[in-house]
Symmetry: C2
Subunit: 313 residues, 2 copies
């Protein structure tokens, strides 16, 4: 039995828009506190962190393990990217150590890789969710699997025998937000209507028919349909979302050699859109809760069982 | 000889960002005046037009022929799209007639088509430049040719035996502006550095290597190179521009069955970027000045020589 199992630790998921801290004893969560993301700080990361930790110090936590944008250039301190392929031990060895008023803090590094296009790629925060997904669904630790983490910058990840082998990023959520907020498509139909499911399905279908290379031309089709058919905002935005998610998924399918069963990590609503696109392209998907994956991943990284030593002592 | 040749007419190129009026006698331009685009009006289109025409009325112009966004829903009055294939006579027959204080005004309609993707497509203003390019370079009136009109919404156009047969639009300039002004790529490197030629060439080369379907993933490569290599703003923006123009050109090449010789209509600086991408994809290009093309196109549309009647009398 691991000697850390009954010790008190703090886990933190500190992204651009949200900080979520957990007080843990063994594998139990005793308390949770939320704070501002790295992109919304009003004080330094150190002050923000120590303020939020507050009276948790009385429980004498032995460590605070933090993942996400806290380790970026604009975060607390930059934790250099670890290269792929990366196993838990590789990431553990590169934890960035900081002392916060006597409380040892360790920041999880992001990962870099040479992706399927022969170019550089990076992630920060997702590596912890991926390791967590492998713990939550151990069948993923053997053989070769495709995982997807949809979001502002969607990551498609290949794991091979428990290592994060390679990944590929598309700024799908960011492109959608730019088009939704700033484009002529948005100005032509103001309002906050959410995207329609019908529009989304049609966008995915157009990509399946025409192939992902047609994406820019199909984006303009949205405009033509506004002008010629009076396409409503909800359908236009759904169509755009379907085009973007469909093209990302179709391109990944040709890279991976078919989709097979994809593990979708993250928020259920966005995951459902990807699940639709994956099904339209002949794959299947299983979903993994994003918050559960972060906790499981931090547990893996705080554990010494794979390294044979108390790296976090 | 055409009896209109010595009459006085007004030609107008009235787009979103600019109004340019010409006072013509026969084929000579006597005077030119600039005014606000349809997107920057401070008075009604009618008032704006009549104010700018001013003392030109003393020359007793028989007609003002206007093309561009003046005929859009947000313009002076909507001139319904003419369907493709479209010859000059087809467009002439659909001119929208307006009386402006006793001065006859005719507004050139835009064109619609079912494009190569089986979807709707539209243009407004470019049809006049295309007809002008055919006049300026009559070899384009016989056989099948590919033309490109780069811009906010780049149009690729197939002309067949003098008719505008079909076209395909990609919002290349708009996507570039969204990424340059609002994306995380832009925020990571503020400033107004123009895009570098080296960055542009590298972007085109990446698309040629990887294929246009990789566009979203290569857009994120820009971000990875900022984070890992400190890619300067000028190179990042050049790279993005190369990716967008390269992917649009590569997709068009596969649609048209190779590029051959492309006629590039428009501003020289943007045309040169497309010429680079066309060459990288095995094609050649000739350039046609955009303003000259508008004037030649309006001349074609104001002429009765093809229709056998004075349609504009």
């Amino acid at each position: 039995m691991n000697t850390l199992d009954s010790s008190v630790t703090i886990f933190g998921d500190w992204g651009t828009s949200r900080l979520r801290l957990y007080l843990r004893q063994g594998k139990s969560v005793l308390d949770r506190r939320d704070g501002p993301g790295i992109g919304a700080l009003t004080a330094s990361p150190r002050e923000t962190f120590l303020d939020l930790v507050g009276d948790w110090r009385e429980a004498k936590p032995s460590l605070a393990l933090l993942c996400g944008m806290v380790g970026s250039r604009n975060g607390w301190e930059e934790a250099a990217y670890a290269p792929c392929p990366a196993r838990p031990d590789d990431i553990r060895r590169r934890l960035l150590r900081i002392d916060a008023d006597g409380l040892p803090v360790a920041i999880v590094p992001g990962l870099s890789c040479v992706n399927a296009l022969g170019g550089p790629d990076v992630m920060r925060g997702e590596e912890t969710q991926i390791l967590g997904a492998l713990e939550l669904n151990p069948v993923l630790k053997r053989g070769r699997h495709l995982l997807a983490l949809p979001g502002t910058h969607t990551k498609w990840v290949v794991v091979e025998d428990g290592a994060i082998a390679s990944f590929l990023t598309a700024p799908v959520g960011e492109l959608y937000a730019l088009l939704r907020e700033h484009s002529i498509l948005a100005k032509a139909a103001p309002g906050d209507d959410p995207e329609s499911a019908e529009g989304f399905a049609r966008g995915v279908a157009r990509i399946v028919e025409q192939g992902p290379a047609r994406l820019p031309h199909l984006i303009f089709e949205t405009r033509s349909r506004q002008l010629l058919d009076g396409l409503p905002k909800a359908d236009a935005m759904g169509f755009l979302s379907g085009l973007l998610i469909g093209s990302d998924t179709a391109t990944t399918s040709s890279w991976f050699g078919g989709l097979g069963q994809v593990s979708l990590i993250g928020a259920p609503a966005l995951g459902a859109l990807y699940a639709h696109a994956i099904a339209a392209l002949g794959g299947t998907s299983v979903s993994v809760d994003g918050d559960a994956a972060v906790l499981a991943g931090l547990t893996t990284l705080s554990s010494a069982k794979n390294s044979g030593a108390h790296v976090l002592a």
